[in-house]
Amino acid sequence: MNRKSPLLLVGVGGAGAAMARGVRRAFGEPLRIVLADTDAATGRDDAPFVLLGGDRLSGRGSGGDTVQARLAAEDSAKSFDEHLEGVRLAVVVTAMGGGTGSGATYEMVRHFADAGVPSMVFATLPFSFEGEDRQRRAAGMKSMIEDVAGAAFFPPLDQLVGGCDGMEEAMRRATDTLASGVTLFWRMLEKPGYIRLDAERVRAIVASAGKARFACATASGEGRAAEVADAIARSPLLAHGSGPVRSILCGVLSGDDLRLSEISRIADGVRDAFGHAAKFELSTVNDEATFSGRLSVVTMLFESGDGVEEPAHGEATAGARPRRTRRAVNPLASGQPERGRFTNVQPTVWKGEDLDIPTFVRRSITLDI
């Protein structure tokens, strides 16, 4: 395990742990990793593992209960502190829709943020056929995770499988696609080439990047640069955002044969596709052993944060810079937080929190009543 790295890979829940293992395998070298789950069986290999809510759930899993998973993660939050030592950016991989991936991720990312470590969250959204309940659960936690994460990517599984029909193959492809994207990103930071983007710069971008999209593409042979640029421009994973793109992170990974004209072709293609107003950050990786003859591109689009370049005089802006604030009240509650029968008495305040407001409201826990 590379204890000195400022990057920490965190796999949450069974699917998240599988993805994190996939990244570790694909990376091929030691990386800082920690897996977390409410199910003790997930901690079966040598990767550092945090059992979430051991006292509460006895290592049997959350049973698909998001609230229990949140409470479990809250119980075990302090267990992550030793893993966060020296970490500047946490990369969290998980799957939404189940209990632990949806519920625990929010609490963990919130704890990381409180510890001064921004997170990039890569979380798959359930297949559309998985039912309304899982979709609703994922959607509810998605907006909460977006509130606390530095940057959050939520690729739908429908798009990650890329037309595969076989169940097993589709799931493997979804996991591989996400894992390979994260691996490319990891490689970009850990093995920078001539044009480098270090973890500190990425941290600055990610710290307030907000909603984000990502895609990656690989090609080889003549015309590979044009091929990956087109693939990125046409990727359904990058197609639908909720706001204008404010910054772009583009990593070009290749062997020793990477040419300047190829970098230029890719950069132009990406900027043409997603806008020249957005701040553009480029990084290259030259790794002959891994990418001999191939060229891979990973592209991340961020919708908020400090990345956007100021418009020229008189140029119209695409909209005011969004302000992202951590949600403080129950989404179910309207208006002022509820002090109920304590409205007219001296409030009980602890560390700035009004304890007369129900705890579940202050923690933004939506109850399945």
Binding site: R56, L71, F342, L367
Partner: protein, 400 residues
């Protein structure tokens, strides 16, 4: 001669009056007691004086229905007041004496004690108790009996427990309206500790958590001394209020759910997937059901938060790891299902329900821990006023 004393607690959830009798040097027995639900009291603050007075009158009437041990009726003219609420504070203060003859004399000790009792108190605060701790002679601390020891400066550490004078005066006014004179105000958590802890527990280190309706008092003991005390302004009323808000019920229904259905640990002893019935609060409203898991979750979150505050408070004073004898839960909230187990998990200490084992006569009470504070107040009165009987066995109405 048998001493007879009464103790009154005007709490957020209930008003309690108890009478204790005992001969000097013998165990105290609670001979009669009564409680009625309080109304319009929030976090220990009286919001309706008339209601508070009526509550005191009612509880007096109920208590006086009992006869004393000789079979006579009696009238209660005065009572010790048990005080709780987040306005109660405890501050350390040191009394100092310069040792005259090189060895500590009785006069030096008296001077240190006198000095320790002279902490200036602002007019809006009323002193409840000065709890003496250990002596320090020059740099040697932890001395329990310094007489005859050599040194130059004698210091006595104390804990000064004080409360908002207006809140205590409100209680006095409510009691006076019911023709009941209030004697010393006493801090509920310390009283509860007096009734539940034995000497060994105080020496080994013990924490008493007195879970009231509007607040939770704590009293921590180490080496036989009270080393920390205070109140967190969160109690059982907050749990009920959270339930009422979560499930859109009345406070009474929420109280009922808290008492009979909810658990501090989700799904403890019962299937979390069950649904719990909530009767309609008027004939026009239909009964509804709520998820037990959601109900337990609301309660768990609130109590876990409260316990984490207690833990942080104790850790900040470097005391938690010294509580070798564990934690005693007292007050009405101690009966909450699963609270002892949750407290054990959150505090990492052995936890027990603090029955008032230092007094007799409460065996018939459904939740004896809820009487710990008044029992402790009676013990205090029994120990400190044994030569001054506060009332005799009198025919009812004689002193009214």
């Amino acid at each position: 001669m048998t001493n007879i004393n009464a103790a009154l607690e005007i709490g957020t959830s209930r008003t309690v009056l108890a009478v204790g009798e005992g001969k000097p040097g013998e165990r105290l027995k609670v001979t009669c007691h009564a409680e009625i639900p309080s109304t319009k009291i929030r976090k220990g603050q009286i919001l309706d004086m008339k209601q508070a007075t009526r509550s005191v009158q009612s509880v007096l009437r109920e208590t006086e229905k009992h006869k004393d041990e000789s079979g006579d009726s009696f009238a209660i003219c005065n009572a010790f007041l048990v005080v709780s609420g987040q306005h109660v504070k405890a501050d350390p203060f040191q009394g100092v004496a310069i040792v005259g003859g090189g060895k500590v004399s009785a006069a030096d000790i008296d001077e240190a004690v006198r000095s320790a009792h002279s902490m200036p108190m602002p007019p809006e605060r009323e002193l409840l108790d000065v709890v003496e701790q250990a002596y320090t002679l020059d740099s040697l601390g932890g001395i329990s009996s310094p007489k005859g020891m050599s040194g130059r400066t004698l210091k006595l550490d104390t804990l000064q427990i004080h409360a908002d004078a207006n809140r205590i005066n409100d209680a006095r006014t409510a009691a006076e309206g019911a023709h009941l004179e209030l004697r010393d105000p006493l801090f509920a958590a310390v009283c509860a500790a007096d009734a539940t802890l034995d000497d060994r527990e105080r020496r080994d280190g013990a924490l008493v958590l007195d879970l009231g309706g509007g607040s939770t008092g704590y009293a921590a003991y180490c080496d036989g001394y009270l080393v920390a005390a205070g109140v967190i302004g969160v109690g059982g009323d907050h749990v009920s209020s959270d339930i009422a808000y979560a499930f859109q019920t009345t406070h009474a229904q929420a109280e009922n759910l808290k008492t009979h259905e909810a658990s501090a640990i989700v799904g403890l002893d019962r299937e979390a997937s069950e649904r719990v019935s909530v009767p309609g609060f008027s004939p026009l409203m239909e009964a509804k059901t709520v998820s037990r898991r959601a109900l337990d979750t609301v309660v768990n979150l609130r109590l876990k938060e409260l316990l984490s505050i207690i833990r942080e408070t104790m850790e900040a004073r470097d005391l938690l790891h010294r509580m070798h004898a564990g934690v005693a839960l007292t007050g009405g909230g101690a009966a909450m299902r699963g609270l002892d187990e949750l407290a054990q998990r959150e505090l990492g200490l052995p936890v027990r329900i603090g029955k008032p084992s230092n007094v007799d006569g409460l065996d018939d009470v459904a939740n004896p821990a809820s009487y710990a504070a008044v029992a402790g107040a009676l013990l205090y009165a029994h120990s400190n006023y044994e030569r001054k009987p506060l009332f005799g066995s009198l025919f009812k109405g004689l002193f009214r």
